[in-house]
């Protein structure tokens, strides 16, 4: 689906991601985890062509993503950023309508099929009753779902989510992640997301990619990747990994900092 | 034009030579105390010198200059009028009305050490001594002073200065002169334009400069100023009067052209075709047009009292239907004419005006008409009379 080879990324002159290889297979949920500033979101931007690599390549379905017309990419892939700017008077439906833009010519307006797809996207995200309310009048979780509906209306094969749960309370976090999982299961939608919560990442992903200081540290199924050793190396946290007695899912519990040098910032402790 | 320059030059030379001659030749007769400053009796003498070149001023520069040294026969009584000047002392135009309100010149001979100038807003400037180092931040006034024999020590920067002012240091714009250079000249009087009084007065006060703010934009202002300077400086009222009389004489001839003729409707355009305003009867050119019997489109229409230029509606211009259009623009008259011609052909409205139909559109040379040039304004008036009554 997506293959990134040997990519280097920098902001201004400062390189933040080095020699990163990455692959996403169709139909899987992959989570990128790592400490703050490790380059997770940067990688996500690179594989969604929002940020151009200084070197290396990103392929989408075998085509170089930077050479594909950006509108073609928009039909296959959708990325949701952390922060959204919604014009204050846009309703949910008006916002979701924009998801159809990549499928229209510049002179075209919504046709019946577009309208149906928009209605479908709204139904998928369970926003029917809010469809004609303004986005800004909704709660944070509903707003996030509205933007996911916009992404769904693009009918993408890959959905990239940049910290989709950040501003949500725990209920809305679970609700959102369940939605992602459901979409993945029912539509076969490939999902790549950046998550902060390791337990969420473990519970909802087929595969994890761990990044630290712009380099890939580990990759694989949650069970294989999440070890106390890795958590100590990457996050400088002493942790206990266990399987929940009821769900059988892996979870971790932080016991404290691995390194006692408290005056050092967390992500420099092992550098 | 040339004639007038020559006149100014001659008058100035005459005054200077006479002034020097009297200063060196004979000690002041009336005032015993300040020896140098007050050569009172000299004031009477230049009158004939100024009067002679007037009729044909273009050529006789040396001729006019020669008689002056011979004349300084001390006139014993100061207030005597210039003897050889034929014109009557009665002023013709109403323009002098403002200045006659100041006290008559007679008592000045008795207290010559008091120097007195009055601003149009009523502010009075009284000095114990007659200033000797004068800076004129108005080019027009610098010229007027020079022709009275009072050479300023500094003036505003200009490209149009008369050549007798060639060596006078130029100090920047009239609006914001270079204060450092101004102070370095150690003037005992700074004459600035009254328009800039609000901004300049506090600065001058701060620097301890004595300032007089002059109103010299209109024709009548220049005559009023001449009279006032004549009384104030060197007590040379008669000398100033001679200049005034000369101007009045030519003025009468110019005005005679208008007598008995129908009063034309006149439109005075100031600016470029892209953005112009109309000069009112209170402006320099507007006043002269009124003197010559023209009816200005702006008469009775000013919203701001005594505004010199107003943006009048095109509709009123059409309704007024001027018979003569006078255009004042910076830039060479030919090019401006061309430019207006284009506007006039592009905008059919102009073509309906009598002035355009009868080809009575005149581009006034900016040197004389852009702003008041000082004494050469009489040339402007004469030219205007010729334009209006060909």
């Amino acid at each position: 689906m997506i293959t990134a080879q040997n990519i280097n990324l920098c902001y201004d002159k400062k390189t933040v991601v080095w020699d990163f290889d990455f692959e996403v297979r169709p139909g899987e949920i992959v989570s990128l985890i790592g400490p703050n500033g490790s380059g997770k979101s940067t990688v996500l931007k690179a594989i969604s062509r929002l940020l151009k690599c200084t070197c290396g390549t990103v392929h989408l379905d075998g085509y170089d993503i930077y050479k594909l017309p950006t509108r073609e990419v928009a039909k296959k892939l959708s990325i949701l950023s952390q922060v959204h700017a919604t014009p204050p008077d846009f309703t949910v439906r008006e916002l979701v309508n924009y998801g159809r833009v990549p499928h229209q010519q510049w002179y075209e307006t919504l046709n019946q099929e577009d309208r149906e797809i928009v209605a479908w996207a709204i139904a998928q995200t369970r926003l029917e009753q809010f469809a004609d309310r303004t986005v800004n009048s909704l709660s944070g979780g509903e707003r996030q779902r509205a933007w996911i509906a916009l992404a769904l209306a693009q009918r993408p094969q890959v959905l990239l989510l940049d910290e989709p749960t950040t501003f949500l309370d725990i209920c809305h976090q679970i609700e959102l992640l369940d939605l992602v999982k459901r979409l993945n299961a029912s539509l076969g939608l490939t999902v790549v997301m950046v998550l902060h919560d390791i337990n969420h990442a473990a519970a909802y992903s087929h595969r994890l990619v761990v990044i630290k200081d712009g380099r890939k540290v580990a990759e694989g199924a949650p069970v294989d990747v999440l070890t106390p050793k890795l958590l100590s190396e990457v996050y400088n946290v002493q942790a206990e990994i266990a399987y929940h007695p009821k769900t059988g899912k892996l979870y971790f519990h932080a016991l404290g900092l691995a390194c006692a040098k408290k005056e050092l910032p967390c992500n420099q402790a092992t550098a | 034009m040339n004639r007038l320059l020559a006149l100014v030059l001659v008058v100035a030379l005459a005054v200077i030579t006479v002034g020097c001659a009297t200063q060196t030749a004979q000690p002041p007769a009336v005032t015993p105390t300040p020896a140098a400053a007050t050569p009172t009796p000299a004031a009477a003498t230049p009158a004939p010198a100024a009067a002679t070149p007037a009729p044909a001023a273009a050529t006789p520069t040396p001729a006019a200059a020669t008689p002056t040294p011979s004349t300084p026969a001390p006139a014993p009584s100061a207030p005597a009028p210039g003897p050889s000047l034929t014109p009557s002392p009665a002023p013709v135009a109403p323009a002098v009305a403002t200045l006659t309100s100041t006290p008559q010149p007679a008592p000045q001979a008795l207290i010559p050490h008091v120097f007195r100038l009055v601003e149009t807003d009523g502010t009075e400037l009284v000095l114990e001594e007659i200033p000797r180092r004068v800076v004129a931040l108005s080019v027009n006034t610098a010229g007027v002073l020079a022709s009275m024999g009072i050479m300023p020590v500094g003036m505003a920067t200009t490209a149009r200065a008369h050549h007798i002012l060639r060596d006078v240091p130029q100090l920047g714009t009239p609006m914001s002169p270079n204060i450092e250079r101004l102070r370095a000249l150690r003037p005992d009087l700074v004459i600035a334009n009254i328009v800039f009084k609000p901004s300049l007065a506090p600065i001058f006060r701060q620097h301890g400069l004595t300032a007089y703010f002059i109103d010299n934009q209109r024709y009548s202002d220049v005559i009023a100023n001449l009279e006032m300077f004549g009384r104030a400086f060197f007590n040379n009222a008669d000398h100033a009067q001679a200049l005034i009389d000369h101007i009045r004489g030519r003025e009468r001839v110019a005005l005679a052209a208008a007598r008995g003729r129908p009063q034309p409707r006149v439109l005075i355009i100031f600016g470029t075709p892209q953005a112009f305003m109309l000069s009112t009867q209170y402006s320099y050119v507007g006043e002269m047009v009124t003197m010559l019997g023209g009816r200005n489109v702006t008469e009775g229409m000013t919203v701001v009292r005594h505004a010199q230029t107003i943006p009048l509606s095109m509709e009123n211009i059409i309704a007024f239907n001027p018979e003569i259009i006078l255009r004042i623009s910076h830039g060479s008259p030919e090019q401006v004419a061309q430019m207006f011609q284009r506007e006039f052909t592009q905008n059919p409205v102009w073509g309906r005006l009598d002035a355009v139909r009868n080809n009575r559109v005149i581009d006034l040379p900016p040197v004389l008409f852009m702003s008041n040039p000082g004494l050469p304004m009489i040339d402007a008036l004469e030219a205007l009379a010729r334009f209006m009554y060909p």
Partner: protein, 344 residues
């Protein structure tokens, strides 16, 4: 015009919104046409309606006919075009900058045009015929400079604004310098500096019309990118918009709209900033509705203001920009306080 496909209702409240918006547009169009006709009635000379009627349809060469057909009508048409242009320019720039305070002046167009225009009128008055052309070039240079300075791997709104402030300061300083150096000539150009439609004739209508037609069409083609830019750069890119290209094209069209206006009538501020705001308050921020409404209301405002400029202090003309600032400012404040669906 663009409302056709939207007007087919599927859900009641949604169709209501669209109908309401369409109604606002129709109402604005009606108001504009009314104002356009009524404005012919007003001027520094008063004519009766009968005289005006005769002027428009009678064959006789009356004073009223000359004034209505050759003075007021071209003025009204110039105001119509310039008002629409400036409002569209402001609306597009607010999308480009994603900043409600953006106005055509921000791109340097106005100050660049002012400096070029003023230097010709003051220093080289003999080339006065070149003022519109020079003003346009000056505006284009200043605008190009702003975008050149702001460009750094793409156009960032904040950098555009900062570059705009800097370029405006330099060009504005140049204009001030000239007006001080040539203070004796300044009266002649005051009207232009404050924006005036006085004295604009059929010649200017003919000059402006083709450019305006092109620019209007171009502006209407910008509806989709403008809407996408409102969603933020990342979202717009995600939806397949080349954000840098869109910013550049929109800015160019906006600068062109402002440039042709400034070069014909001088500096008229206010419309470009206020009208898009008013439109957002009235009809929402969807450019599909907002952009046409901006054009309509921009024309409406300028026609009305110009009629007032030649009437209020008749027979003296006021620069129309002053009228707009005096009347439009309070009206805008009222709208802001009253609020609407759109809150700033």
């Amino acid at each position: 015009m663009t409302t056709r496909s939207e007007a087919q209702p599927t859900a009641a409240p949604r169709s209501l919104r669209v109908v309401k918006k369409a109604l606002v547009l129709v109402l604005a169009l009606g108001l504009l046409l009314t104002a356009a006709v009524v404005s012919l009635r007003f001027g520094s000379l008063s004519f009766s309606t009968a005289e005006i009627w005769q002027a428009l349809f009678g064959g006789e060469e009356t004073l009223a006919k000359i004034i209505v057909l050759d003075v007021r009508l071209p003025r009204m048409l110039v105001a119509l075009m310039v008002g629409a242009n400036l409002a569209l320019s402001g609306a597009l720039l607010q999308a480009v900058m994603r900043n409600p305070l953006a106005d055509p002046g921000l791109t340097g167009v106005s100050t660049g045009a002012a400096l070029a225009g003023v230097s010709i009128m003051l220093v080289f008055p003999q080339w006065g015929a070149l003022v519109p052309f020079a003003a346009f070039i000056g505006g284009a240079i200043a605008c190009g400079l702003v975008f050149l300075l702001a460009w750094k791997r793409g156009l960032d709104p904040i950098r555009i604004i900062l570059a705009g402030v800097a370029v405006n300061a330099v060009f504005g300083g140049g204009t001030s310098l000239l007006s001080i150096l040539y203070s004796d000539r300044i009266q002649g150009i005051l009207m232009w500096l404050n924006g005036s439609i006085a004295g604009r004739s059929w010649h200017h209508v003919r000059l402006l019309a083709p450019y305006t037609a092109v620019a209007l069409v171009a502006a209407m083609l910008c509806i989709k990118p403008a809407n996408l830019l409102q969603l933020g750069d990342d979202a717009a890119r995600n939806l397949g918009l080349n954000v840098n290209v869109a910013r550049t094209v929109l800015s160019f069209i906006a600068a062109f709209l402002a440039g042709i206006s400034v070069s014909t009538v001088g500096l008229i501020g206010f419309i470009g900033l206020i009208i898009p705001h008013v439109c957002r308050l009235l009809i929402g921020s969807d450019y599909k509705f907002m952009l046409p409404l901006s054009a309509l209301l921009g024309s409406l405002l300028l026609i009305t203001a110009d009629a007032a400029a030649r009437t209020v202090f008749r027979p003296v003309e006021l620069p129309v920009g002053i009228i707009m600032a005096v009347v439009g400012g309070p009206f805008f404040l009222y709208l802001l306080r009253k609020g609407g669906t759109y809150r700033v």
